[in-house]
């Protein structure tokens, strides 16, 4: 445990130098986007399909989850590859008395912290614009952390598996991450999709997080059973993802 804290500390020391740069992509741009888009396009939207909510109120929780996913994806591709290949940080770490689980736990804790802070700032700003309607909105933070782990852990496993000469990350970004953010109920309810696409949305972790965030920020929280189902589904992704990541890290580092 203290090993994982030391790994988290390493990440934080590095982040102290780079946080300004990541602030832009982690919440400044998404917040500007959601406000501009939500207010302007929102004024054209017939809100009856959204259960009477304003489009801004509909869009904000979806965008928070979607941004959390992007941050988690970003943190688990190039930075992880660098720690294997360029900086060889992981190699330095395992020469010290750290276990491979410490590396993963420390890195994923840092990632969760990144996701929670960017979601928190996002939530705070949009609340000022009247897009948040319940004190349960704070539940968005752990939900985004869970989504972050659910998305990042399998990507950690993938990054540990591929070599650095080919750019798989752009492929993942274009064919999985971006489509997921378009078809997982961020911008419109998935009931508007043809049924075969709805199935894809159900499979994606993002849709489940969007549903949790929406239930948390709206006045009407919906069914508790549905929420429990969404949480359970994300937990499943996280548990399987962490197991895969641990296995691939072991293969890569401890031949």
């Amino acid at each position: 445990m203290s090993g994982a804290v030391a790994v988290l500390n390493y990440n934080l020391v590095g982040y102290r130098r780079t946080w300004r740069g990541t602030a832009l992509s982690s919440f400044v741009l998404p917040v500007l986007f959601v406000l501009g888009f939500g207010v302007s396009v929102g004024s054209l939207v017939n809100t009856s399909a959204l259960g009477g909510e304003s489009y801004l109120s509909f869009l904000v929780p979806g965008m928070i989850a979607s941004t959390a996913m992007q941050v988690a994806f970003g943190e688990s591709t190039w930075p992880v590859q660098s720690k294997f290949t360029w900086m060889r940080t992981y190699h330095a770490m395992i020469a010290a008395p750290l276990a491979i689980g410490d590396l993963l736990l420390g890195d994923l804790s840092f990632l969760a912290l990144r996701v929670v802070t960017s979601s928190g700032v996002f939530l705070l700003i949009t609340a000022l614009f009247g897009a948040v309607h319940s004190w349960w909105a704070f539940a968005v933070l752990p939900a985004c952390a869970l989504l972050g782990i659910a998305v990042a852990s399998p990507v950690f496993a993938f990054t540990a598996t591929v070599d650095s000469s080919t750019n798989y990350f752009a492929f993942l970004q274009r064919f999985i991450v971006i489509p997921m953010s378009l078809f997982a109920g961020v911008y419109y309810p998935i009931s508007k999709l043809p049924e075969y696409l709805q199935v894809l949305a159900w499979i994606s972790p993002l849709w489940h997080a969007v549903e949790i965030c929406r239930a948390a920020t709206h006045a009407d929280h919906g069914s508790l059973w549905a929420l429990a189902g969404h949480v359970a589904y994300l937990l499943l992704w996280a548990v399987v993802g962490c197991w895969l990541a641990l296995r691939q890290f072991r293969r890569r580092l401890a031949d």
């Binding site: 090993g3 390493y10 130098r17 330095a92 010290a96 008395p97 401890a254």
Partner: protein, 310 residues
């Protein structure tokens, strides 16, 4: 020598990667306070052996005890007492020198306040105190190496593993690193290093093994190895013209062994000057002559051959 003082104990140690056997059944005993070297061409199995000793790679077969413990079961506990200077630098080039060391100290559970004092002391030791708050990225190769060595000492290790500590450094930087390592040795720290530089091995190692193709082909002190596998002196003669081979036949029989290289002939003899007299007595007049003492390099090339290993 008691078992407590044997820091590395290996018997029939094997490391395989798929079909490839990197380490092919080696026996080793390294005692506390020794400077022990692995010598060998690239691909001889030195680094694979070092990684097993550093408890980051599992032996495929055989016995290995590090500090008297099992590296597979007690890896974390053993690594807490080792210092490792890997072949490739693993510094975070975006952080400062000091941050690299303080973050690393935390991996050993060293308290922040203790670490700060230790880092100052170590940067003084590797003569980088004035660069403490500089980023690592623009530092020279020699400076980065010294940062890595300082980092390896953060936990006051009982044994320091150095994988090719001076490869790629310029002569000044190498000598500075050697001098620091020699100081460590004087302080009683056990050093285990790999190298393919003979002068490095002669300067630093009390005892060494020569590895080739995953096996130990010779071991002893540098002096013992030279005595066993070479002669006291070497006479190097060069004859005019492109082809040295015809002259070799005429020299044959002088000294203990004659070796023909494309540009010169080596005569291994107890007395180089006497050998030279014999050469001129046969009516041969080399265009250049050098008599020198035998070195580990002669031993190395004799044992591992002159073929190029990439």
């Amino acid at each position: 020598m008691t078992d407590n003082a044997t820091l590395i104990h290996a018997r029939s140690l094997v490391k395989r990667f798929g079909d490839f056997t990197a380490v092919d059944g080696i026996d080793l005993d390294v005692r506390a306070g020794e400077a022990f070297g692995f010598l060998g061409p690239n691909g001889a199995g030195k680094s694979s052996t070092m990684r097993m000793i550093g408890c980051v790679s599992r032996p495929t077969a055989g016995t290995l005890r590090i500090l008297g413990r099992d590296p597979v079961r007690d890896g974390v506990a053993i690594r807490a007492r080792l210092g490792v200077c890997p072949q490739q630098d693993t510094l975070d080039t975006e952080l400062t020198v000091r941050q690299n060391l303080t973050t690393y100290a935390r991996y050993f559970g060293i308290k922040r306040r203790v670490a700060r004092a230790k880092v100052d002391e170590l940067l003084e030791f590797v003569q980088l105190a004035e660069r403490a708050d500089a980023k690592v990225e623009p530092l020279s190769g020699g400076m980065k190496r010294r940062v890595t060595i300082a980092r390896a000492l953060i936990n006051d290790p009982e044994m320091v593993l150095l994988d090719e500590p001076t490869t790629g450094l310029d002569p000044q930087a190498r000598h500075l690193v050697w001098e620091r390592l020699f100081r460590l040795k004087q302080q009683g720290v056990t050093l285990v290093l790999t190298t393919h530089y003979m002068d490095e091995a002669e300067q630093l190692c009390d005892r060494l093994v020569v590895m080739d193709n995953g096996k130990i082909v010779a071991q002893g002190t540098p002096r013992e190895l030279i005595e066993r596998y070479s002669t006291r002196e070497v006479l190097e003669v060069r004859f005019p013209g492109d082809d040295q081979a015809p002259y070799a036949d005429k020299i044959e029989g002088i000294g203990e062994r004659v070796e023909v290289l494309p540009d010169r002939i080596l005569v291994y003899a107890p007395d180089g000057d006497a050998a030279l007299v014999s050469v001129t007595e046969r009516g041969l007049h080399p265009s250049s002559v050098l008599v020198r003492r035998s070195s580990l390099e002669d031993v190395f090339l004799h044992l591992t051959g002159r073929r190029l290993v990439e």
